[in-house]
Symmetry: C2
Subunit: 475 residues, 2 copies
C-alpha cells in the first residue's frame, strides 16, 4: 500500500507560505514550552510580537466589558435573573433584543449572517461615511481572512487571473493566491513617503502583467497598512479609485485597522466606500472589517464582515451560494460584530466604563507606538517610519556585511537571521521582512505595538540590536 | 468601465451546487418573511426540515445547561462572583480549568486548537475505541465542513484527482469537489439493504475512474448516513478498510452523527479509527466530528475536529500550515468541543440534569424517527428505510406519471416539484433527492426528524401527499 506523501498533494497547497505563523512562531512555541518545563533560557517569558493578538496571555489587553456581558447573556439566557439588578440596563436590553431576533446562538443563522446585525452594520457604515449602505450588500464572516479567502477564490480563474498586491503585504494575500492558483502582481509601497501607495508603481505592475499575458482582476489595498502602519490620504485614495475605473479593477480594501488611529485629528481614516460614493464611481469595491483588531481585539471569536459596493445582483447571489456551503459564520463572532458597530452611546449606563476602557486602549497603543518608533530610530542602522495607524511597526535594518554573509551561509535571509537571534536572546518573536516582501537587498521586520511594559521591552530590543551589530562587525 | 459579471468569475465556483440551502430554502425564507408581514398563507409557520439545525426557532431543542454555563463564564470571568454559590461546582471548576489554560477566549489560540482541548479529544477517542490517540493528530475546526473543505483542498490536484463519494451524499462533498476542481467518482448506496455500502459498487466506480484516466485518491463514507440515516455494521467497515488498503485510498470518514443512535443496543456505532486499529491497518484515515449534531446541536458555535491516523509527519505539518493561514477555529466552538468530549460524569453535581436533558433529546429523536418512518411507509407510493442513526429520513416516492410530466414541463426534477408544492401547501421545507443524488428515474426527499409536535407535522405530510397524488392522477 502506498502511503500518502507530500508529493501526492495539491501542488498549489505546497506553495503556500505564511510567515506570521511560520518557522519563528513555531520556535517561539517550543521556547515557551521549554520555559514552562523549567529550562534555563536567557529570558523569563516569550513575547509574541509576531501577530496582532491583543488579548493573548502576556499581553492581556482586557476585553470590553459591555461586549462580554452581552455575550454571556446570549450564552445562557436564564442568567438574566441573576444579573438584572446588577448589570447595566443597556446590557440587558441589548441581549434581549438580540435573543428575540436570533433565538439560540446554538442555531445556524442565515448564511450571510443574522439579518438584524447586517442592518446594524449598514447603519454603522452610513454613519461613518455619510452615504447609504444596503444590508443585502453586507456579508458577516468568520474574521476578515475568511472574507478575503472567499473573494479571492471567486475572483480567480486558476493560472489566469492576476491580483495586484502591495509589497510589503500581509501574507494572507500571497498565501491565498498560492492556494487558489492566482497570479500575484506585486507593486511596491513607497517607504520614503511613509509607505504610501504610488499610482505609478501600480501602473507599472499592470503593464508588466499585461506584457506577461496576465489579466489583472483586482487591486488589494491595506489601509491602515499592515505591516507598515501607514495611512492613506484622501487624494491618493481618489486616484486609486480612478485607476480602478480605468482598468476595470475590483478594489479589495482591507480596512480592518480603521479604528486603530494614533492621531485621528491630524490623520483621519477615510473608507474607500466613502471615496467611491463621493466620486460617484462605478468601481466594484469590497471592504473588509473585523472585530479582531481595533479596540476590541476579539480575535478568538472569529468575527468580521465585508461590504460589496457596485456589485451586480447575480455576482452577489453567487457569493451567497458560496457562503451557504460553509453554513454560517460563528454566532459568537456575529454578536461581537453587533457590539462593535453599536457601542454604548453617551447617556447610556454602560457608556462611562466603555469610554474609559477604549480610551485606555487607544492611549496605550498610541504611546507605545511613539516610544518604540523614537527609540528604534535612535538606534544605529535602524530607521522606522512614523505610524499613524494599525498595530505594527516595520523598521528597516542596515545590517553589517558580516551578518548578511552569515545569513547566506545558513541559507537564510539576513532579516530572518536577525529575527531568529532576537528570539533566542530576548524571547521576543517578530516576523522578518522577507515574510511580507521588500526590495532586493533590503531588510526589515514587523513587530506589534501591543506589549505592555514598553520600557523594558524596548530596552531588550536595544540591547539585542547593539550586541548583534557588535557580533557581526569585523572592525 | 467593464462591470464584473458572473462570466468573469472562477468557472469552478459557478459549478458549485448546494441544495440544502438552495432554491427551496430561499423560498422558505421568503415565505417566513411574508408570514411575519401578515400575509395570508395556507399555514401558520414555516418549518425548516431542510437542515439539521436543532436549536433553530420553531424547533427549539434546548442547549445543554452545563455547556452553556461554562461558556457564559468563559465569556465573562468576573461572573464567577455572582454564580459561585448558585451554579454547580463542576461548572465553576471546568471554567476555571479552561481559563487557566486558554486565558481570554478573545485571543487567537494555537491554529490546530487549544492544546489542552486536543488532549481531551484524544482521551475521548481512546475511551470510545480502546485504542490510543495522539493529540498531535487532532485538529479542531470551525465545524466539520471546514475540516472536509481543508482535506479536499489539500488532497485534490485540480482536474486530476478523483474522490469516491456515496450517492446519495451530503452535498457538501459535491460542492467542495466542484470548488476545488476535483472529480467525483460516485458509488451508489444500496437502498434495499438499508442504504448500506456495497463494496462492489465502490470497485465499479474505481474501475470506471481508471478507465477514464482518473486517479482515485480518497473514499468518502458518511456513517451514520446523511441523508439516509443508515448505520454500517462492523463487517462492512472492515471490508471498506481492506479496500482502501488495496487501492491506497485515504478514507474520509464523516462521523458527525456518531452519537445520534436510536437503538444503540442493537445498532451500535463503530468508528473507522477503531476498525483501522483493530485490523492494524496502515490506511490513512481522517475522521470528522462536530458539535453541531449529536445531542448538543450547537451549530451556531462552529465547532468540530478531525483526527488523522496513519499520516506522515510532513503531511500533517502541511495541514498545520494551511490551518495557520486561517489563524484559528472559533474559541466558542473549541470550548463546545471540550464539553462534548468531557460531559459531566456520574456523581458530579451537573450530572443529573445533563442526563435528563440528553435522555430527553435522544428519546424524542428516536420516537419521532419511528413515528415518521411508520407513517410514511403507510402512505401509498412512499417507502422509507428504517433509520438507526443520524437526524434524517430519506423516503422514496413513486410519483404519478402526470406529476413527472408536469415537472418536466417546468424544467424541474419530479421530486423538486413535490418539495416545492409541499412547501407552498404546508410550510414544511425539505430537500429533494435530486440535491443528494439518486438513480436515474428515482425520486426521494430528505427531511429532518427534529420537529416537535410530530403528530401535527406528520398529518400535514400525509394530507399533502394524498392531495398531491389526487391532483396528478388522471384516473
Amino acid at each position: 500500500m502506498h502511503q500518502l506523501t507530500v508529493a501526492d498533494l495539491n501542488p498549489a497547497v505546497l506553495n503556500v507560505q505564511y510567515a506570521v505563523r511560520g518557522e519563528l512562531a513555531i520556535k517561539a512555541e517550543d521556547l515557551r514550552n521549554k520555559l514552562e518545563a523549567g529550562h534555563d533560557l536567557p529570558f523569563k517569558r516569550v513575547i509574541n510580537s509576531n501577530i496582532g493578538n491583543p488579548q493573548q496571555k502576556g499581553l492581556d489587553q482586557p476585553p470590553i466589558t459591555f461586549t462580554r456581558q452581552v455575550a454571556a447573556l446570549m450564552e445562557y439566557p436564564p442568567l438574566i435573573d441573576l444579573v438584572k439588578d446588577k448589570w447595566p440596563s443597556d446590557v440587558i436590553e441589548r441581549a434581549q433584543e438580540l435573543q428575540k431576533e436570533i433565538g439560540s446562538i446554538g442555531a445556524y443563522s442565515h448564511s450571510k449572517g443574522v439579518p438584524l446585525i447586517r442592518k446594524h452594520v449598514a447603519q454603522f457604515i452610513e454613519e461613518r461615511d455619510g452615504y447609504s449602505s444596503d444590508p443585502e450588500d453586507i456579508f458577516l464572516t468568520g474574521g476578515a481572512s475568511a472574507g478575503v479567502s472567499l473573494l479571492l477564490n471567486v475572483l480567480i480563474t486558476p493560472h489566469k487571473t492576476g491580483i495586484l498586491i502591495p509589497i510589503p503585504q500581509y501574507p494572507l494575500y500571497t498565501a491565498t493566491l498560492a492556494q487558489f492558483n492566482g497570479i500575484p502582481l506585486p507593486y511596491h509601497l513607497s517607504e520614503p513617503q511613509g509607505w504610501s501607495t504610488s499610482l505609478h508603481e501600480i501602473e507599472d505592475a499592470i503593464a508588466q502583467g499585461k506584457k506577461d499575458g496576465i489579466a489583472p482582476r483586482a487591486l488589494v489595498i491595506i489601509n491602515p497598512g499592515n505591516p507598515t502602519g501607514s495611512l492613506l490620504d484622501l487624494e491618493t485614495m481618489e486616484s486609486v479609485v480612478r485607476l480602478c475605473e480605468k482598468h476595470s479593477l475590483i478594489l479589495l480594501a482591507d480596512e480592518v485597522y480603521q479604528s486603530n488611529l494614533h492621531s485621528p485629528d491630524t490623520h483621519p481614516f477615510f473608507s474607500f466606500k466613502y471615496v467611491v460614493r463621493k466620486l460617484d464611481s462605478p468601481v466594484g469595491l469590497v471592504s473588509f472589517h473585523s472585530i479582531s483588531k481595533g479596540i476590541k481585539g476579539e480575535c478568538g471569536r472569529r468575527g468580521g464582515y465585508f461590504e460589496c459596493t457596485n456589485f451586480r445582483e447575480d455576482v452577489r447571489a453567487l457569493l451567497y451560494k458560496m457562503v451557504s456551503v460553509g453554513l454560517c459564520p460563528p454566532l459568537s463572532g456575529q454578536i461581537g460584530v453587533d457590539s462593535m458597530v453599536r457601542p454604548p452611546q453617551p447617556g447610556s449606563p454602560s457608556y462611562a466604563l466603555w469610554k474609559e476602557e477604549t480610551d485606555t486602549i487607544h492611549g496605550a497603543l498610541a504611546q507605545r507606538t511613539k516610544i518604540m518608533t523614537d527609540r528604534l530610530n535612535a538606534l544605529p542602522g535602524v530607521s522606522c517610519v512614523q505610524s499613524p495607524g494599525a498595530l505594527y511597526l516595520y523598521p528597516r535594518l542596515e545590517l553589517p556585511a558580516d551578518a548578511v554573509a552569515a545569513a547566506r551561509k545558513l541559507g537564510k535571509e539576513p532579516d530572518a537571521l536577525y529575527a531568529m537571534e532576537l528570539l533566542d536572546e530576548t524571547g521576543i518573536c517578530v516576523v522578518p521582512g522577507s515574510g511580507f516582501g521588500q526590495k532586493e537587498g533590503e531588510a526589515h521586520y514587523r513587530l506589534t505595538c501591543l506589549c505592555p511594559g514598553v520600557e523594558e521591552y524596548v530596552v531588550a530590543l536595544e540591547e539585542f540590536h547593539k550586541k548583534f551589530l557588535a557580533k557581526y562587525s569585523s572592525a
